[in-house]
């Protein structure tokens, strides 16, 4: 009846519908497209590491210690004569494993807690959100440090430690979405035909929260990359001789002035990876989240 259908905000349904045409939309977001290509390349590199790495990441050669970049070693060698490029390629595997594991743990937990709090409201909401606030108030790196220190250093501990600090923002976001969705007419209609709470939560409310959670998770991947590298740098993540990027920088620090490539090469790897996740997350938001559509 109103003539303003043009200005009506794009319904969320279309947001989901556009997921398949995401690549089409990304073409108009060149930066996001480059980011996505980078991440795809990184995943391929991580999977194909055994075949594409020119050397073994742990092969030491005392005759080739601290060589500058050359034809034989494109990114030079470290203090044990190991090929830095090969170590970065294998390191991609560690980074990807960390990022994906943390995301796989954090996504469902954050969604579950947030949606439950938002849907039930009242006391459930108060309790769950206070817990979230408490965790959120800790600086995530410090908390991760404490956990890593308590449980012993290692990649597994690092993953658990990062996960423990990464779910609250997801939970908050999911709660905010659930608060909106629970008051919609379609949820009211579902109540009228006797849909159970569990059914409403899983089949009606959670699916509506997923797009923004996915966007947030993608943006989070950048932070996870950085936190993982920081833990590695401090010696609390993956342990030597594993080729973890943060640990590599830490080791290369000693040669920073004379043999810059030892620390700078893994530094670039971390920089580009987290940048790529950020850029893709932003592009995803433009495509998935109707509130951020450009006019």
């Amino acid at each position: 009846m109103n003539g303003t259908t043009l200005s009506r905000p794009r319904p969320m349904a279309n947001a989901w519908g556009t997921l398949h045409s995401f690549f089409g939309e990304l073409r108009r977001e060149p930066l996001g497209f480059i980011g996505l290509m980078l991440i795809v390349a990184l995943i391929l590199v991580a999977i194909l590491a055994p075949w594409i790495a020119p050397y073994s990441p742990s092969r030491q050669s005392l005759s080739e210690v601290l060589q500058p970049p050359s034809v034989a070693h494109w990114m030079g060698t470290d203090e044990f004569g190991r090929d830095i490029l090969s170590r970065l390629i294998w390191g991609a595997q560690i980074t990807m494993r960390t990022v994906l594991s943390v995301t796989a743990i954090v996504g469902p937990i954050g969604l579950l807690i947030g949606v439950t709090a938002g849907y039930f409201g009242g006391r459930v909401d108060a309790v769950l959100m206070r817990i979230t606030d408490i965790v959120l108030s800790f600086p995530s790196l410090i908390l991760a440090l404490a956990f890593a220190a308590a449980l012993g250093a290692g990649l597994g501990t690092a993953i658990i430690a990062i996960s423990l600090t990464a779910w609250p923002p997801i939970a908050r976001l999911a709660r905010a979405e659930a608060l909106i969705v629970r008051n919609t007419d379609y949820v009211a209609a579902a109540r009228l035909y006797g849909a159970s709470n569990l059914r409403l939560l899983t089949l009606y409310i959670a699916p509506m929260c997923i797009p923004s959670v996915v966007v947030r998770l993608t943006l989070n991947m950048a932070t996870i990359t950085l936190t993982a590298a920081s833990l590695g740098f401090l010696g609390l993540g993956a342990q030597p001789p594993m080729p973890e990027w943060g640990a590599m920088i830490s080791a290369g620090r000693r040669f920073m002035l004379d043999q810059w490539w030892v620390a700078v090469m893994p530094g670039f790897a971390i920089l580009f990876t987290s940048l790529a996740f950020n850029v893709v997350g932003d592009a995803l938001r433009d495509v998935l989240d109707p509130r951020h559509t450009k006019n």
């Binding site: 009846m1 109103n2 003539g3 303003t4 259908t5 043009l6 006019n295």
Partner: protein
């Protein structure tokens, strides 16, 4: 068309949106003098697009062409964005369905109205506030002092429309385009807002283009009724009883009428008037 001086002349206006082959507005010609003209049509008829095209407020993806589009002697299509901005809100104004989107959300109402007074009358700040209060009182806002300190989200839709009209009483636009100004309002407030719009138009001898889906309201309020369907003007009437076009007749028949109760309403048959449209009917 009218004896008085023409304020707005539209000839052969077309609007096309980038990705669609269909014209949202096709070959519309209109001329507005002093008085109230209503545009009615259903959603998708292009009535809102037409209003925004005249104000040059369509997104860049829209292409607007016209053999003539002049407002007060200014060819609107060749004006720069800067010149348009000077015209809009000054000599031509747009009132939208929800006034709260047209007002600045972070400034109190009083300041926004006073701002208009400063801009148009060159008054000092304190004098402008006094004039703003006077105008808000003139649009029958009770408790003016409190409203002036309120922010747009704190007032009702009806109040918002009155504030918009108060600001217009200061800027005295020659042309007011009102796009569904009352459809978000309660029935009892609706009458008052229309009455204020009427005062605004008659006091200054300006022109009002009222865009609405509500045929009854337009018929009772406006001097002329323009019926749009699928981007075209199908009929121009001065009274509903003069309607001849099957589309207009169909719309009228589809409305429930308490004085002539029927068991089933007549549903307009689009195929018929699409056919008459093609064969060329009196438009």
């Amino acid at each position: 068309m009218t004896d008085t001086k023409e304020i707005l002349t539209v000839q052969n206006l077309d609007v096309t949106f980038a990705r669609s082959a269909m014209k949202a507005v096709a070959g519309v010609s209109l001329s507005l003098g002093q008085g109230k003209v209503g545009i009615v049509g259903e959603s998708g008829s292009g009535k809102s697009t037409l209003g925004r095209a005249i104000m040059r407020l369509l997104p860049p993806s829209a292409t607007v062409t016209a053999s003539k589009l002049t407002f007060d002697g200014n060819p609107l299509l060749s004006q720069s964005e800067r010149e348009m901005r000077a015209l809009r809100g000054n000599r031509m104004s747009l009132i939208m369905q929800d006034p709260r989107y047209s007002l600045n959300p972070v400034l109190p109402i009083g300041r926004q109205v006073a701002e208009t007074a400063i801009l148009h009358k060159g008054l000092s700040k304190s004098a402008a506030r006094a004039v703003a209060a006077e105008m808000l009182d003139r649009v029958r806002i009770k408790d003016v002092a409190r409203v002036m300190e309120s922010y747009p989200h704190q007032i009702s839709g009806g109040m918002g429309q009155r504030v918009m009209i108060a600001a217009m009483l200061l800027s005295r636009p020659r042309l007011v385009i009102a796009d569904e100004p009352t459809s978000a309002l309660d029935v009892s407030v609706r009458g008052e807002v229309l009455e204020l719009l009427n005062e605004l138009v008659t006091a200054d001898g300006s022109s009002l283009l009222l865009i609405s889906h509500d045929i009854r309201m337009v018929a009772s309020f406006c001097d002329r009724i323009v019926v749009m369907y699928k981007g075209r003007i199908v009929e121009e009437l001065s009274r509903l009883s003069d309607a001849r076009h099957p589309y207009t007749l169909g719309l009228i028949a589809a409305m429930p009428d308490a004085r002539h109760p029927v068991h089933r309403l007549r549903v307009p048959d689009r195929a018929t008037f699409d056919a008459t449209e093609r064969s060329g009917s009196p438009a």
